[in-house]
């Protein structure tokens, strides 16, 4: 009967009350196999959806499970931990119910068990409970789970390591104090060792745990770096598994965003090139942390931004900008380009040479872009334009930019043209002077001043020649001219 229930459980969403009342006395049965199978059935039911899990909680089954967890053999413990995990994963309230019936202490006792399957089940349950919010994580930590999880990480079974790493990641992600607790137990050294492991799912979890630890503060990031993860982490950026790449670039991003010194360290070990190649080799959301990492590195100082440019990141970012379909990834790429190009004219030139400015402009002007994308591309354009002295890239802007951006473009021209004669010639021959004359600006506005300063670089005849309506004025003069009567 119990095996029947176990097999049918994925298909019984309804009649949950009846099922609970059927299964509950089976839990108290004498025969251990029946207890175990009943627990397994409960677990699968609770796993299926949240309502059934709530029914499990309401049916007062949890105290019985917890009580017998301490006493029974390992198969029962595994099944009971599976039930707790299945119940705890759906929502914080259910997880809180599990904590309230004192399951945490027993789960921690299970973590000390010598059977790795029991440890895995207990660690999984603890991880799912700690995932929801900081209070639950704190409860898990207070029950003394963290040192035991670190012990579990050192066990030889790969599955146990994975689960323990993911539990540590879930615990440390909520707040710096929790991350500090995890670090105090010495988890970083063990996690750092496991980066070399060939199993890709384990690598995912380990990298995710390290990035959750490093993201909170500079000290934690420095401690993660001190565990000598560079340059080994860069090998993970070449892994075949996409999520390993994503988590590795998340880790590098979290470290790079804190201080310029940490970014410098990453640049010195060649991290920027590795991340750039990683961005080139994957698509979609996997790229996003890598793009953000480049932006953070470039944002700190102009030397770092120059290092990013030297690592050939700018063409890669402009490829991302043009070919990604999703708006938030485009927004991230636009932001990163803005951070790279905003420092000095050299940087702005490096960005402008790759022809990204028209793409940014079109993203800003298009009505389909989200607001976030529009704001970010506008900021990027403005910050790059304010430093850009590379005139061939600025010229297209004269034609299709909106007035607020046109102001900056014309301002840049007015700064560069007075000093460069070749640029002046090019400006005239490419039709830029003509376009500038056609711009209508309010008198006394900044735009008019810029136009005046551009006009003052050229002799009057040329300015008049290119001013609009000059041909009509000439024809009028022809009409009104009286030839000298001879």
């Amino acid at each position: 009967m119990h095996s029947l229930t176990k097999d049918q459980s994925p298909w019984i969403p309804n009649g949950k009350e009846g099922v609970m009342s059927l299964l509950r006395p089976l839990l108290l049965d004498v025969v251990p196999t029946i207890q175990q199978t009943a627990a397994l059935a409960l677990g699968r039911l609770a796993n299926y959806n949240g309502d059934l899990a709530e029914a499990v909680v309401k049916g007062d089954i949890l105290p019985q499970l917890v009580y017998s967890l301490a006493e029974q053999n390992r198969f029962y413990k595994k099944a009971a931990a599976f039930v707790l995990r299945a119940v705890g994963k759906h929502s914080p309230q259910l997880a809180q119910a599990i904590v309230d019936c004192g399951a945490l202490d027993t789960l921690v006792i299970c973590l000390e068990d010598f059977d790795p399957g029991v440890k895995e089940a207990a660690a999984w349950a603890l991880g799912y409970i700690a995932r929801h919010n900081a209070e639950l994580s704190q409860a898990v930590v207070d029950a003394g789970a963290v040192p035991l999880l670190v012990l579990c990480i050192q066990e030889p079974e790969i599955a146990l390591k994975r689960i323990a790493a993911s539990a540590l990641s879930d615990i440390s992600k909520h707040s710096p104090e929790l991350a500090q607790t995890v670090v105090d137990v010495g988890a970083i050294a063990h996690l750092a060792q496991m980066i070399l492991n060939p199993d890709s799912k384990l690598k995912r979890q380990v990298l995710s745990a390290l990035s959750q630890i490093a993201k909170h503060s500079v000290d934690l990031a420095e401690m993660v770096v001190e565990a000598e993860i560079f340059p080994v982490v860069l090998t993970c950026l070449k892994d075949k598994d996409d999520y390993v790449k994503k988590n590795a670039s998340t880790l590098i991003r979290e470290i790079a965003k804190h201080t310029p010194e940490l970014s410098q360290l990453i640049v010195n070990t060649g991290g920027v090139a590795a991340v750039t190649d990683c961005i080139g080799s994957c698509k979609g959301n996997i790229r996003l942390p890598g793009i953000m990492m480049l932006g953070y590195v470039a944002a700190h100082s102009e030397n770092l931004a120059m290092a990013v440019i030297v690592s050939k990141a700018v063409p890669q970012l402009s490829v991302c900008l043009s070919e990604e379909p999703e708006d938030h990834i485009k927004a991230a790429a636009a932001w990163a380009l803005g951070q790279i190009g905003r420092h000095t004219p050299e940087h702005a030139r490096a960005v402008a040479v790759t022809n990204t400015l028209p793409v940014l402009l079109s993203l800003y002007m298009s009505t389909e872009s989200s607001e976030d994308l529009q704001t970010k591309s506008k900021k990027a354009i403005k910050s790059i334009l304010q430093k850009c002295t590379y005139l061939p890239a600025l010229e297209p802007f004269l034609y299709d930019a909106p007035p607020n951006i046109l102001k900056h473009v014309v301002g840049q021209f007015s700064k560069v043209l007075p000093h460069d004669s070749k640029a002046r010639r090019l400006f005239v021959t490419s039709g830029g002077l003509k376009k500038v004359q056609e711009i209508k600006a309010g008198p006394g506005s900044l735009l008019q001043e810029y136009i005046n300063s551009i006009n003052s670089c050229y002799p009057e005849e040329i300015v008049r020649y290119y001013s609009p309506g000059y041909s009509d004025a000439l024809l009028q003069r022809v009409d009104s001219y009286q030839p000298l009567a001879n």
């Binding site: 004192g102 010598f114 492991n197 060939p198 090998t235 060649g270 190649d277 030297v310």
Partner: protein, 415 residues
């Protein structure tokens, strides 16, 4: 007397003459007086004028000297001032030169060294190239290193030397000054190619094995003399390669399904003979020349089943009630045997400080979580106990149905 008379007669004449002469003089007296005054005043004027001229000359000399003195003093002041200003200008100019050089030097050396930046960027790009080429092969080298590292770990050697060796090698590959970089690169690329070739070979071999297995399963599709098989169609010029494969294939013998070991029932520990096959199966036939025994007998297979039945302990016996405790004891004994020192477990982060582990207040003070209501549900009062031991949670075995249908005797069975 006559003279007196004459004098007296002349006296009036005398008087008149006297008066007349005096008054005649008086007429000229004024003129003469005025003339005399004029002459005198003119002379006096000349004298005074001469004196004044003299005085003027003298005063001019004095004033000339004095003014010259003052002017020279003034001039000296101006010259001094001018000199000072010229000196200060010179000093300022020299100071500007010194400061110019110093500021240029300071900026170039301490604040922003352009050439250093250039060198740094060059080094960064070299590192990047190293990473790109190294790690193209490293992705495959990485697996190899991991396998060796993990094999080492399984032998219980510490990973740190291997890790640091990997680290230093990769640091060497990625340091700023890399003399042997190109050698590394070439070696790694060659290695990568070799690895790729090996992988391809392994793939091909796997494909061959699969096809062989399939051919063995399909051996009956081979064509005979009378009937051509499906791969040997008469309309073809030459038979399909599968036909040749089928000719070479050996027919597959279907294997018996393996008996799955039931987990948990660890009977082998309880029996003297530990192999499951050491007891004869019931399929073995009895000897032929046996004398027939008398009486209604049960089916011989049933008898042999019962005779050679392996031990089927009840679940009560399968797991002892205090298995957990025993296992824990065993583990503790093993650990005690293996321990080098028996000191208490110290926490990881303060290990080198030799501090004692301070457990949570919850678990160490007597005001911790109450186990009543969560771990046990009976109230306890040890003072009222007769003996000093508590109740043991010992569940009696409820054996009613464990032997159902498994007893040899037919007692109680409804036929």
């Amino acid at each position: 007397m006559a003279t007196l008379a004459r004098l007296q007669a002349r006296s009036t004449f005398l008087a008149h003459q006297y008066y007349f002469r005096n008054s005649a003089v008086d007429v000229f007296r004024k003129k003469e007086y005025d003339a005399a005054v004029k002459i005198q005043s003119w002379f006096r004027g000349c004298r005074i004028r001469a004196y004044l001229r003299y005085l003027h000359r003298v005063a001019t000399v004095i004033q000339k000297c004095w003014r010259g003195y003052l002017g020279r003093q003034h001039y000296q002041l101006i010259v001094k001032l001018e000199f000072c200003t010229m000196k200060m200008n010179l000093y300022n100019a020299m100071a500007v030169r010194i400061q110019k050089r110093w500021r240029g030097y300071r900026i170039r050396k301490y604040c922003f060294n352009y050439f250093y930046l250039k060198e740094y960027l060059k080094a960064v790009s070299e590192t990047n190239d190293a990473i790109r080429y190294c790690y193209q092969g490293f992705a495959i080298l990485d697996e190899l290193c991991d396998h060796t590292a993990w094999r080492l770990k399984r032998k219980n050697t510490t990973l740190f030397p291997v890790y640091s060796m990997l680290n230093t090698s990769s640091h060497q590959m990625c340091g700023f000054s890399m003399p042997g970089n190109l050698r590394h690169q070439e070696a790694l690329e060659e290695f990568a190619e070799m690895k790729e070739r090996e992988e391809k070979k392994a793939d091909l071999e796997r494909e061959e094995k699969k096809r062989d297995y399939q051919a063995r399963k399909m051996h009956y599709l081979l064509s005979t003399k009378q009937i051509p098989g499906i791969y040997n169609s008469p309309f073809r010029k030459d038979p399909d390669p599968w036909e040749l494969r089928l000719q070479k294939a050996k027919p597959l013998i279907s294997q018996r399904p393996k008996v799955k070991q039931k987990r948990g029932v660890n009977i082998s520990n309880r029996l003297a003979c530990t192999s499951a096959r050491s007891l004869p199966q019931s399929e073995i036939l009895p000897p032929i020349d046996r004398k027939q025994c008398q009486g209604p007998f049960r089916d011989i297979t049933e008898v042999l089943e019962q005779r050679y039945k392996p031990l089927e302990p009840t679940l009560w016996m399968a797991e002892p009630i205090n298995e957990l405790k025993m296992a824990r004891e065993e583990l503790r004994k093993q650990e005690w045997m293996r321990n080098i020192n028996d000191n208490m477990f110290l926490p990881f982060s303060s290990y080198h400080k030799n501090k004692k582990y301070i457990p949570l207040m919850h678990s160490s003070s007597k005001y911790g979580p109450n186990s009543y209501g969560s771990q046990h549900f009976r109230d306890e009062n040890p003072k009222k106990w007769i003996c000093d031991k508590d109740f043991q949670t010992v569940l009696p075995s409820f054996d009613l149905f464990s032997k159902y249908g498994k007893l040899y005797s037919k007692a109680g069975q409804i036929i």
